[in-house]
């Protein structure tokens, strides 16, 4: 299961995670991710072919509520922390 992580892998994963790494960080993460995943390799020893995965420990399912209109945060409160706005909208740089 273990494949050695290359600097190219680190570049690809950083892009997926929307991170830009410095040269130093790239080197550090390549080394550390390899160390960590190599240490974790012994998970392979366990046969889990017939084991169900546990994503969540509680038997909760489809938690719904009645469809009614309630009190919600005001528009001003919701916008209060945004770095940039125009009227009642969040403003962002050019998308297309």
């Amino acid at each position: 299961m273990i494949t050695k992580i290359t600097k190219e892998d680190v570049d690809r994963v950083a892009l997926l995670g929307r991170l830009e790494l410095t040269g130093e960080e790239k080197e550090m993460f390549t080394r550390q991710l390899n160390d960590i995943l190599e240490h974790f390799q012994f998970l392979e020893r366990l046969d889990t072919a017939n084991v169900q995965p546990t994503a969540h420990v509680l038997p909760l399912k489809n938690v719904l509520r009645e469809d009614w209109a309630g009190q919600h945060m005001s528009r001003e409160d919701a916008l209060a922390n945004c770095p940039d706005r125009e009227d009642d909208y969040f403003k962002v740089p050019r998308i297309v």
């Binding site: 690809r12 997926l16 550390q32 974790f40 420990v57 919701a78 945004c82 770095p83």
Partner: protein, 485 residues
């Protein structure tokens, strides 16, 4: 009388006898903060005016002869990853350095409604990712027992505040040990309740299938009093369980006769510091002498818990932290070309090293081609770990172990080696993976530093933990020791 050294229930007794006022308690705690905070560094933000206003309300109620709640007028610190309406909440991160939440977490609202006094917001590892508070973007909190050492993490500020007399109680959050580890290192009581027992609405998410809020206190009675306030169903948290929370003080019984207590041998094996093991051995003997049936047992998949946790938690974190994009709140990078560039620059400037490391690890484990080998594998092993506990609890009411393989380590000792840091959590992470309650209580000292005893129980059986912890405490005096600062 040094008011800042007393427990909440002792202070409550003095309040209702009108021997002291809530204002005096609050002032005593802020005076203590003024004299020791420079050495400890527990707080990111102190809320003195709000605290005094809350204390005045309680004093007014007492003056009018109204009945007050058990924790009315008690100064409480809140970990800075819980939202507080109108008060900066940073999660220990530069990316939220100026974030002022427009609402309070459910636990904060519950504490306010219960008449408690909020002292301030405590330091933590950035986004609760760490075991020492050294990952805070602002500063490292110091252990009140030895200021050259870490307080544990990630809720290190909350634990240090309670240990140093800078708060009477505190709230922390625990994803892989972040309440129990600092409680152990700082010599206070810390409990991670059952997953789903306490609302997480308003808790800044790290790993949502594992995160849980819980209390730090100076003794077990205060722990029960805090649980009485914070436990219970919340429609605003879809993972909160609809159950009737008991009166937790009902479990404060000085009697463990007939209790079946298992000690998983994997938690006492190689890698545990011999002095720590010795202290835990004495705690086992004490519980045995008090009438419990203590014996060794096994949780055979224990060694797999660390990799399982460090695949699942970063995977969930990488998804949870996608929200920090500079659009709606938090930092936004300047001088960007387009929106993708803005996301990338904002996140790269705003997140610290450990957060980036976990986003990288989690993103990798979830990425095409590796999902089955890493993430899905970890979810399956999680099932095996949970089944270990299910089997053990058929035979035992309670499991006990050390909280950590060592006492508090030196500042800087593990910062260069993430894997070494992760190993500090080796005794605590299984509890989160299984979703069961876990607790740390002071059970002795090794080399002058506190050692914590971990108690683990069945889902929603916090009662068994409280009963054994209370009995242990009534027959020892470790919880009464106070660090010299």
């Amino acid at each position: 009388m040094q008011l800042f050294r007393l427990t909440a229930h002792e202070l409550h007794d003095l309040l209702i006898k009108k021997e002291i006022s809530a204002i005096e308690i609050t002032e005593a705690v802020f005076d203590r903060i003024a004299s020791v905070e420079e050495k400890v560094g527990a707080y990111l933000n102190r809320t003195r005016e709000r605290a005094l206003a809350q204390a005045r309300v309680v004093d007014g109620q007492i003056r009018k002869g109204e009945k007050i709640f058990p924790l009315s007028g008690i100064p409480i610190a809140i970990k800075d990853n819980m939202c507080t309406d109108g008060i900066t909440t940073t999660a220990g991160s530069k990316i939220l350095a100026n974030f002022i939440p427009p609402y309070s977490a459910t636990v904060v609202k519950k504490l306010d409604a219960a008449g408690t006094v909020m002292v301030g917001k405590t330091n933590l590892d950035e986004f609760a990712m760490g075991s020492s508070t050294e990952n805070s973007a602002f500063f490292t909190t110091r252990n009140p027992w030895d200021t050259g050492r870490v307080p544990g993490g990630s809720s290190g500020g909350s634990a240090a505040a309670v240990a140093a007399g800078e708060a009477v109680c505190a709230l922390g959050s625990d994803t892989g040990g972040s309440i129990r580890l600092p409680a152990s290192f700082c010599g206070v009581v810390g409990m991670k309740p059952t997953y789903g027992a306490v609302s997480r609405f308003g808790l800044i998410a790290y790993a949502s299938s594992l995160d849980q809020i819980g209390p730090f206190t100076r003794d077990v009675t205060d722990c029960a009093l805090m649980l009485n306030i914070i436990c219970g169903h919340d429609p605003l948290d879809s993972t909160s369980v609809n159950f009737k929370a008991p009166d937790y003080t009902g479990f404060l019984v000085n009697d463990v006769r007939g209790m079946r207590i298992g000690v998983p041998e994997e938690y006492m094996a190689e890698g545990i510091d011999p002095e720590v093991r010795d202290v835990i051995g004495k705690a086992m003997a004490l519980l045995q002498s008090l009438g419990a049936n203590v014996e060794y047992t096994t949780l055979p998949h224990t060694e797999y818990a660390l990799p399982t946790y460090y695949l699942i938690a970063p995977a969930e974190a990488s998804s949870n932290l996608a929200r920090y994009d500079g659009v709606r709140y938090g930092l936004r990078a300047e001088e960007v070309e387009d929106i993708i560039d803005m996301f990338i620059k904002t996140r790269s400037q705003g997140f610290g090293s450990e957060v980036k490391r976990r986003i990288m690890l989690g993103t990798y484990a979830l990425s095409a081609g590796y999902y089955d080998a890493y993430y899905l594998k970890a979810l399956k092993v999680r099932t095996l770990i949970k089944e270990d506990f299910d089997r053990a609890f058929e035979k035992y009411d309670l499991l006990i172990s050390p909280v950590s393989p060592t006492t508090a380590f030196r500042i800087g000792e593990k910062t260069d080696d993430p894997l070494k840091m992760y190993l500090s959590d080796v005794c605590t992470i299984s509890v989160n993976l299984a979703g069961i309650p876990g607790m740390s209580i002071p059970c002795g000292f090794a080399g002058g530093l506190p050692v914590g005893l971990q108690l683990m129980g069945r889902h929603f059986n916090e009662g068994a933990l409280l009963r054994a912890a209370y009995t242990f405490e009534q027959n020892t005096d470790y919880h009464k020791r106070f660090p010299e600062l």
